[in-house]
């Protein structure tokens, strides 16, 4: 894109952001008379607004730190499938979330299916 066009789009986008939403369309109609593609470019940028906050809203350092912490936690999370806890034989993992992992297990005493929830160490340490 040539620099002149870039500046034009950026400037109109900035102005459009600063005026009330219900007046934007009229503003753009007027400002982009005879240049339909210019209006489309700006409208596309305006349409990103809600999601744009998600993209850069959390500082990169924090995003990376969370990812690293998640990796560590995954490594620490033991896999109980195939093992027994007391008289419960764990058969499969059903689900997992921030508060722990849920397993399907067999109660070998009462001969019935149960669900067992394993809490992450962090939750146990700080109830």
């Amino acid at each position: 894109m040539n620099p002149e066009r870039w500046r034009q789009i950026k400037q109109l986008y900035t102005s459009a952001l600063e005026i009330d939403q219900d007046r934007r369309e009229a503003f753009l109609q007027k400002a982009c008379t005879g240049d339909e593609s210019l209006r489309k470019e700006i409208e596309r940028l305006l349409a990103q607004q809600a999601e744009a906050e998600d993209l850069l809203g959390t500082p990169a350092l924090e995003v990376a730190a969370r990812a690293l912490a998640q990796d560590e936690e995954d490594k620490l999370q033991p896999d109980y499938v195939g093992r027994s806890l007391m008289h419960y034989r764990i058969t499969e993992k059903i689900g997992e979330g921030g508060m722990g992992v849920v397993y399907k297990a067999r109660d070998t005493h009462l001969d019935r299916t149960v669900a067992i929830k394993a809490l992450p160490a962090a939750v146990v340490a700080d109830p």
Partner: protein
């Protein structure tokens, strides 16, 4: 409420330490002033975090599904690491077109600087930083979406 994982804080410290070590190592750099320091720090942090995303991405390749929470709704086909890498690429592109706007993103997103601090480093008004930031957010989001569709 999302429970903050204790590991999260530890990892932040580790990442900051890594950046600090690299800055100390950069003994060929002659610091002009603290503004210069922040500008370099943000760039170092950007490189560390992007390298980190690439390393994680290659570790996971072929493994289980990539964890997505950076922006699941927006880029369903991309994981957190890929978003970071795509963002870095798009930012390089932005540097070609509008170097100041790209700098504003680097300082704020990777350097963690406030609007005011960024204005000081770049040498423009707070308002200009805000305008660059708003435009960059929209433009980058659009770029990443288009990239994800390609």
């Amino acid at each position: 409420m999302v429970r903050e994982r204790p590991g999260h804080t530890l990892q932040t410290t580790a990442l900051v330490n890594e950046a600090y070590l690299r800055l100390i190592d950069a003994d060929r750099v002659e610091w002009k002033d603290r503004v210069h320091f922040f500008a370099i720090s943000a760039n170092v942090m950007r490189r560390i975090l992007v390298e980190f995303a690439r390393a994680r991405g290659s570790q996971k390749r072929g493994g289980s599904a990539v964890k997505v929470d950076f922006d699941e709704a927006m880029f369903p086909s991309l994981g957190r690491d890929q978003v970071m890498i795509a963002l870095d690429d798009a930012l390089n592109e932005l540097t070609e077109i509008d170097p100041r706007e790209a700098k504003v993103v680097e300082l704020r997103f990777f350097g963690g600087l406030s609007e005011k601090e960024t204005a000081e480093v770049v040498g423009v008004t707070d308002r200009t930083v805000r305008q660059d930031w708003n435009h960059a957010n929209a433009w980058l989001t659009d770029e990443l979406k288009r990239g994800a569709q390609r």
